[in-house]
């Protein structure tokens, strides 16, 4: 488990660093919301999931999508807008999805995934016999979105197997949590009688352990659970900030926030030789992904209207 957690944390880190380079080179248009610094959360939670469980993700979704099992090569092609991408170039960074892996998509609307995951979990409950769960990832900013509160209420009322995972990185764009959250984040869950806990989101093993407990209780039919993971976003809210140079975090905080690095925490538990061989394999994989993404063809413009409807629309 330690090796596989490290591998995923490291894969996400390096994937994101390669993405930032591809944003600079113009291969990824529109930029990305880098997940750098928060990798332990996606890696730890998804390690507690099965293939047939589902997740909903966010605007900062690459880590979740990779950790739930999407192919990094086709994922990168998607970010580069290529027809070989997961979404055939129709989605991009904020909409990457792979339903065959239970990845119900990154989502550009803050908070929206909470109700979608609740509905999927409700459907699992109805299907009977199974014990699949749904996980909704969201940021600290989303806890002020009405829909998330509606979804938590419904999930608790209907006792559906959904895990709400709040990644508290201290900021919603430029706004601090203390400026945006009255009361506490876990207090929102308690209000609906949903058990919650706050954990160190920098340590994938800690996240894994907490998520496993929550997932198992959901599988046993005990209803939803809520996990607040404390973390820090090492990079910009969005790569646009690299050019715009928006200043809203104290310089000392930017240094201290990076002192505990999820890659080092997970990597420190491995034998150096093992760590090195994992790193090498990741570099080779990402080299392949970059080559594939940058050389794949763009979608054919004549297909721009495809995939809107599942059945014909014109009489």
């Amino acid at each position: 488990m330690e090796a596989s957690l490290y591998r995923m944390v490291r894969l996400i880190r390096r994937f994101e660093e390669r993405c930032v380079e591809l944003v600079r080179s113009g291969d990824i248009i529109g930029g990305i919301h880098p997940y750098i610094g928060q990798e332990a959360i996606a890696a730890g939670v998804c390690a507690a999931l099965r293939f047939d469980d589902i997740i909903t993700s966010t605007h900062r979704g690459h880590g979740h999508v990779l950790a739930k099992g999407a192919d990094p090569i086709r994922m990168l092609a998607e970010l580069c807008g290529k027809v070989t991408g997961l979404n055939r170039g129709r989605g991009g960074s904020m909409h990457a999805a792979d339903f065959s892996k239970g990845i119900f998509g990154a989502n550009g609307i803050v908070g929206a995934g909470g109700a979608i995951a609740t509905g999927a979990a409700w459907a699992f409950l109805r299907q009977g016999g199974g014990d699949k769960v749904a996980v909704s990832f969201f940021g600290d900013g989303a806890v002020s979105q009405g829909v998330l509160l509606e979804a938590m209420n419904l999930a608790a009322l209907w006792k559906v197997p959904v895990l709400f995972v709040c990644e508290n990185n201290g900021y919603a764009t430029t706004l601090t949590v203390s400026e945006s959250v009255a009361g506490t984040i876990c207090g929102r869950a308690s209000a609906f009688g949903i058990p919650s806990s706050t954990v160190d989101g920098m340590d994938a093993a800690v996240v894994f352990e907490a998520a496993s407990a929550a997932v198992e209780s959901a599988r046993r039919g005990e209803g939803p659970a809520f996990l607040e993971c404390l973390t820090y976003r090492f990079d910009a809210h969005h790569t646009w900030e690299h050019k715009a140079r928006v200043r809203y975090r104290p310089a000392e905080e930017e240094v201290s926030g990076r002192l505990r690095d999820p890659v080092e925490i997970a990597g420190g538990r491995l034998d150096p030789a093992e760590r090195e061989s994992i790193d090498e394999a990741i570099e080779a994989l990402l080299d392949e992904a970059v080559a594939f993404a940058t050389t794949s063809p763009a979608p054919d413009p004549s297909t721009a209207l495809d995939y809107l409807y599942g059945s014909a629309v014109l009489p």
């Binding site: 170039g89 609307i109 929206a112 509905g119 979804a151 419904l154 599942g310 059945s311 009489p315």
Partner: protein, 332 residues
Amino acid sequence: MASVKADAGTISYREAVAEGIAREMRRDPAVVCLGEDIGAAGGVFKTTAGLFAEFGPQRIWDTPISEQAIVGAAMGAAMTGIRPVAEIMFSDFLACCWDYLANEIPKVRYMTGGQVTVPLVIRTANGGGLGFGAQHSQAVENWALTIPGLKIAAPSTPADVIGLMASAIRSDDPVVFFEHKGLFASKGLLPPEGHLVELGKAAVVREGTDVTLVALAYTVPIALAAAERLAAKGISTEVVDLRCLIPMDMTTVLASVAKTSRLVTVEENPHQAGWGATVVSVVVDEGFQLLDAPVRRVASANVPLPFADALEDEVMPTVDKVVAAAESVANF
């Protein structure tokens, strides 16, 4: 049984809603309903009466007053393969969950390159004429028409309620299903089991040669009453019940205009960006040479629907207004 109260051979529009849902629930165990007060209470408009008794709490789910969670959860459930039928009590309240109608449900299939379908129906009671005031009366079918990725049905008869409901529930695409409050008490033929009306097929509900009226839902009986009055004045009127806004059956509309050379749309939504504007734009684009007169649109005025009867009549389409518009183009 959802249709116990129907007379032999006839059924009310209100009962047809429950009957249409029940028929699909009997044939497909994947169909489930959720919404406010739809369970044992049978819905505030009694449009789900009998469903809870027949199908029970595992298939008929009462929800809290959480429009976003209702529609968002329906979407998540639909993407796992079940077929939710979600009720939003009054169509005005679609605004409370508009993110899901505008950004999530219609976009996910496209954005994911066709990975998933969203086979859900959002049913809602639409329109005015009952004195409920501006926040419970607006005809909002044109809101939905602004969104590629949705399908839109708005039946005018009990038989079409049942036939379109079957198609909507069986559709792999999301369908917004507008039930008209002003039609709930109306009666019509009870169609046989298995009755299906394909989405996007308009009906010519009265044939004529001088002018075409294109109507939808509540305005269909208005257009038919107007046609009757116009006949007395020697004007032969064809009435097209559009039935659906997406897909929009412009083939039937253009064929009618080819016959009559004159077009009036009869819409309940506000004139600004109402569906008739789309109908007219296609007709002038693809059928300009067919027209012998300017086209006219009879629609609601561009105001929130007022409360008092006298004001409501003033701003909504009426038989008088349709007769006047049809006469003006017939005599052009």
